[in-house]
Symmetry: C2
C-alpha cells in the first residue's frame, strides 16, 4: 500500500453508506464501471476486500465496516468544510433519530422535547423495525436509535447502549372498570385482557405475574405495537397491560385509569449510538438531558 487514495476512499464511503453501487454512481454522476473500478483499486491497494459480493448486492466485510467508520469521520468533517467554504456559515446538520416502530410515541415525544425548544435545530425521526435500525446506524445514516433492545457491543460494531428510562408496567382500565381495586384481587379474575404479544419481553413478565397470583386471564387481543395496544386499551373495554406512558394522554383526561403496577416489571428504553470520534454535536447534551425520563 503506497499511500491512501482519498478519492477512492470517498467513493467507497458513498457506496458503503448507500449500499448500492448503481444508484451511487448516478448520484455522483459517473458511470458504474468507473465507480466499480475505483473501488476495486482501493481494495487492491489495501490488499483485502471491503465488500463481499453476495448475490447482486455489495455487503461490507468486517474490515469494510471499520474503514467505513474512519471514512465517516473523515468526510463528515470534509463536508462541513465544504459547507463553510461555500456558504460562509456552519449550519448544524440535521440530527437523524431512528425509532423502533413498535415503541410508544409518547416516550419518544418526551425524549425529543429538548430539541423542540431550540428553533435552530433540525431533526428527522425515522421509524423502522429493529434490524433495519441497526443497519442504518451501522451505515451512519442515523445518529442515534431509540429502542427497547439493549445492544451489546461486539467485535464488528461498537454499539453503545445507554439506559434512558425504566417504565413500570401497569394494568390500565377503561372507565367502566375504573372501580377495580389498586391491588390484584379476586375481582380481576373475571376480566378480559389486552396484552403485549410474545414478541415483547413484557409478556413473559405478565405471564409469571399471572402464575404467581393464580390468574388465568381471558386474553382477547394481543399486539406488539404500542400504538396499537393503546388503541386496544382505549376501545376494547378490556383491561390492558403496558407502560403507563403509552396512554399518557388518556390517563390525564380520565378516559383510562391506572389500577396498579406489576411488581418488578419494567420496560427499558435505550439510546444506542456508535462510539465514534466524531459525533453529532447535539448528541452529548441530548443524552445528558434525558438521564431520567421516568
Amino acid at each position: 500500500m503506497s499511500r491512501l487514495n482519498y478519492h477512492h476512499l470517498y467513493y467507497f464511503w458513498r457506496v458503503a453508506k448507500h449500499g448500492n453501487l448503481t444508484a451511487t454512481a448516478q448520484q455522483l454522476a459517473i458511470s458504474q464501471s468507473a465507480l466499480s473500478a475505483q473501488i476495486n483499486q482501493l481494495e487492491h491497494s489495501i490488499g483485502q476486500p471491503l465488500f463481499t459480493r453476495e448475490g447482486r448486492t455489495l455487503v461490507l466485510t468486517e474490515l469494510g465496516q471499520t474503514v467505513l467508520n474512519y471514512a465517516e469521520d473523515i468526510f463528515q468533517r470534509g463536508e462541513e468544510l465544504q459547507q463553510l467554504l461555500k456558504q460562509g456559515t456552519l449550519a448544524l446538520p440535521s440530527l437523524k433519530i431512528g425509532v423502533l416502530s413498535s415503541m410508544s410515541r409518547n416516550f419518544i415525544d418526551t425524549f425529543i422535547q429538548p430539541l423542540m425548544q431550540q428553533n435552530d435545530v433540525h431533526f428527522q425521526l425515522i421509524a423502522r423495525p429493529q434490524p433495519e435500525l441497526q443497519e442504518l446506524l451501522a451505515q451512519h445514516q442515523l445518529d442515534i436509535i431509540l429502542t427497547n433492545h439493549e445492544l451489546p457491543s461486539n467485535d464488528e460494531i461498537a454499539w453503545q447502549s445507554q439506559l434512558l428510562a425504566r417504565q413500570p408496567v401497569s394494568v390500565i382500565a377503561p372507565q367502566p372498570l375504573a372501580h377495580l381495586p389498586t391491588q390484584i384481587d379476586a375481582s380481576y379474575r373475571e376480566q378480559r385482557w389486552v396484552v403485549p404479544s410474545y414478541a415483547s419481553p413484557l409478556r413473559a413478565t405478565f405471564e409469571s405475574f399471572c402464575t404467581q397470583h393464580e390468574l388465568a386471564p381471558d386474553i382477547i387481543a394481543e399486539a406488539d405495537d404500542m400504538a396499537m395496544l393503546r388503541l386496544l386499551a382505549r376501545d376494547s373495554g378490556a383491561l390492558a397491560v403496558m407502560p403507563a406512558v403509552v396512554v399518557r394522554d388518556e390517563l390525564l383526561s380520565g378516559l383510562l385509569s391506572k389500577r396498579f403496577e406489576l411488581p418488578n416489571s419494567f420496560e427499558n428504553f435505550y439510546a444506542v449510538t456508535l462510539s465514534r470520534k466524531y459525533q453529532h454535536p447535539l448528541l452529548p447534551s441530548l443524552l445528558q438531558a434525558t438521564q431520567h425520563l421516568s
Copy 2:
C-alpha cells in the same frame, strides 16, 4: 466550487503544516512545480487565497488557518486509518508538548509525571520561545504548550488556556543566609539580590513589594530563564526571587532555603491547546490529572 479535491487538500495540509513548499515537495517526492500547481488549483476552486506570498515564503491567511484546522482533523484520522491498514494495530501517536524555554524544568517534570507512569506512551518535549510555540501549535505541530502566558482566544485562532497551577513567589536564601527571618525586616536591607528580568511579570511584583517595604535592593544579577535563575540562586551567594518549585531539589537537600513568600504574588502556569474536534487521546486525561499542581 464543484467538489472538494481531497488530494489538493492533502498537499495543502502538508505544506501548511510544514510552512515550506520546496521541502514539502521533497518529502512528498514530487516537484515543487507540481505541488505549487496543485495548491493553486485548490485556491482557485475555493475562490480565495489560502496563503499570502510574503517575500519568498508562504504565510497562511486567516481562511488558510481555518482550512488547516479542518485538514488536520481529516488527515490525522486518515493517517490513523492507514496505520491500521498497514500494521493491523493502532499505536498511540506521540504526544508533542511544547514548553517555554525559560520555564522551570521542575514544573514540567511534575506535569509529565502521569505520562511517565505509562510505558506504552511516547511523548516529545520541545522547548522554544513563546512566539515559536504559538506558531507550532497553530500549525498542529504541537498538541499542547506549557507556558506562563495566558493566550486569550481571538477570531483567527481558537486558543484554549487552562490554568494548571499558581506558584507563590518566594525569597530563596543560600546556606550562609539561612538564618534570615521568615518575614521581611531590616536585616534584608543590606543583602544582595538575584531577580527575574523585566521580561517576567514576577519582576514587577517584586518591585512593588520593595516599594511597599521601602527596600532598595542591591541587584547583582537578573535573568529571564528559570534554569539560569536556579544556578544563580545556588552559586551567587545572594538572595533570589523565584517560585520555590524552581529550586525544589536544592530546598530538599538543604543547599538552599526558602525564607518567605511574597504576598499576593504568583506565577501562573497554563496549558494551551487548540480547541479542535479531534485531539490527542491522552490530552483530556492529562489535563484532568494535573488540575492542581501546586
